[in-house]
Amino acid sequence: MRFTWFNLMPWPDLPDDFRERYRSVWVDIPNNLYDPRRGHFVYHQYMDQLEYADSLGFDGIGVNEHHQNGYGLMPSPNIIAAALARRTSRAAICVIGNSIALYNPPIRVAEEFAMLDVISGGRLIAGFPVGTPMDTNFCYGQIPSVTRDKYREAHELIMRAWHEDEIFAFDGKYTQLRYVNCWPKPIQKPHPPIYIPGGGSIETWDFCLDYDYNYSYLSFGGYKRGKQLMDGYWERVAQRKKDDSPYRAAFAQIICVGETDQQAEELYSEHVRYFFNRCLHVYPGFADPPGYRTIKTLKAGVLSQLTENALSKFPSLTWKDLVDERYIIAGSPATVRDQMVEMIKGLRIGHVFGLFHNGNMPDWKTRHSSKLFAEKVMPQLRDLWPDWKHDTRWWPQPMENRVQPERSLAGAERP
């Protein structure tokens, strides 16, 4: 098992009456709720936490891309990843990911990911999300019914740029480049492991299987709700006659560890409810513009996480509901361990993206929970897939003698 410590980077100061006063945390959230001077401290605290996770022994540290979003303050995850690459040298750096249809030209992603891979000594995991409708269509103006085709073409361009050693001309429908010549190229050959975050489009499953990419189901609904979808994915894996290595799949999960079940509730309840009640308050009209999902997916009845009725239930959910219904995994190390096993086995996943910082959780609580997990839970979950122990297809293979930049002091004399 591999564990990545993820931070969505939420804005911690959304007002108590946010739901009543504003229609959405995303797209048209009022700009004056953001305070850049406060933001200075918030960014540094969140980056410190990611670096702390590296020191705790998490396998990866993870960031993602959102736009105009009150719970995701990383329009450019690559900037954060670059900073992390300079202050860590061990953990994989998971950028899940760059919405490749939004970069113009998309060769920019090939270049920036290559830079990150080179700076980090080959520690990059490269995520290629299609992107949510909120980010892709409403914030960045892409035509919903064209988004997937543009994504497909951007993927083709990036992959060719990484694979090919000769300069080539690219005559695409959306991008035309006379001289494609990726400088620098990634350390990992032919490219870093690719993760495709998905909400539930069946085309995404096939895309992952066509190229043997990791399928990452990013949901805030927890593993009980994720089960049906992941079962669908594994059925598809079997139909396509691919091996069923659990490392083909990843799942994101909110995790809160206390000394006891009781302490977990006392410490984290307020912050988890902040996340579900304020951070997930998205105007439904932004969640599913016509054309974004294919008719095939619509007919299959696979609804995206944000259009599920479940979302509208979030505000009335108590801590007990959230725990009992497994939206979150929370409690003592023993409780968390048992539920983690249930999740990992139930979903058949080799990678967990653990969300340890939630909503407006203060720094010390975030560290407390992360440390308990790293010391008392993670070691007991390591060997849940003994048959696939040596499967490293979806994990970075860094340089062995890489620089340890966190140990060098800026401005210090070299010996």
């Binding site: 409403f138 103006g141 019914s145 064209v146 009209g285 513009p289 016509p290 619509l298 009845g301």
Partner: protein, 261 residues
């Protein structure tokens, strides 16, 4: 009305509602498509020969994957006219259909007998932003589209039984398919540069606008008048954006008149 399916040279299969005799008139529907009941077309067919093609992706028409941008849609319009074997029709376009009809007329102004635009899309005025249909649930359309939202909701859904989940699902999927196509012309801003081409429009033209249009407000009629000075503007009292469905009577007599019937 009768329906026939034609195949264009590009390869799209287009269902056309067709009735009547006399001067040819082509009606291009808006982003929500032809509604279940289209009485104005029946009435119009008593006066002239009416063709109402469904865009690819709408109703029974297919081939939406062949159409990417404004030029594709405008040429597709002429491909349909060609496949129907119609010469010099009166071209009537409603909303997004008006945007397409205007582009068609800019490409071939001498091939149009008369251009009638009913609350056409295609222009953008920063001081009068058009509401974002793509950020609305289909059940919210009526209040924006109709002068009388209650009557409008019934027209939009054709008396859909909302307790029948399967029927609601089918309605939702159909809407997603149609509006998905509309997005190619209307998302995120319904402006594909038509204003800079309207100088080519030498065709006789009529602009028809619902006085209470909440989607594309009357201010747009003024802008159209500036860009197409020969157009005659007719404002319809007691109508919103869906003039053909709200005030069929007045519309039919004007259209019959300009078509030469």
């Amino acid at each position: 009305m009768n329906t026939t399916t034609i195949k264009t040279k590009r390869g799209a299969r287009v269902r056309v509602h067709h009735a009547g005799k006399g001067a040819p008139l082509i009606f291009l529907h808006g982003a929500v498509g032809l509604l279940p009941e289209n009485r104005f077309l029946d009435r119009l067919a008593e006066r002239c020969e009416v063709f109402a093609p469904e865009l690819p992706g709408y109703g029974e028409s297919t081939g939406e994957e062949l159409l990417d941008d404004m030029l594709d849609f405008a040429l597709h319009g002429w491909d349909v006219v060609g496949a129907l074997g119609v010469e010099k029709p009166t071209l009537v376009g409603h909303s997004m259909g008006g945007m397409i009809a205007a582009e068609m007329a800019c490409i071939a102004p001498n091939d149009v007998h008369h251009l009638a635009l009913i609350a056409p899309a295609g222009l953008w005025l920063a001081e009068h932003p058009i509401a974002d249909l793509f950020a609305m649930l289909p059940f919210e359309f009526a209040r924006l589209l109709f002068h009388d939202p209650v009557a409008g909701a019934a027209l939009l859904t054709g008396g859909l039984d909302f307790s029948n989940l399967e029927a609601v699902g089918a309605f939702y999927i159909n809407n997603a398919r149609q509006m998905g196509v509309a997005g190619k012309l209307l998302f995120p801003i319904p402006n594909r540069g038509l204003a800079k081409r309207l100088y080519r429009l030498t065709t006789p033209a009529t602009l028809i606008w619902g006085e209470n249009d909440k989607l594309i407000p009357l201010a747009y009629a003024e802008r159209w008048k500036q860009l197409v000075p020969q157009a005659q503007l007719r404002v319809v009292a007691g109508a919103g954006h869906m003039v053909p469905y709200e005030k069929a009577e007045a519309l039919v007599s004007w259209l019959a008149e300009i078509s030469g019937a």
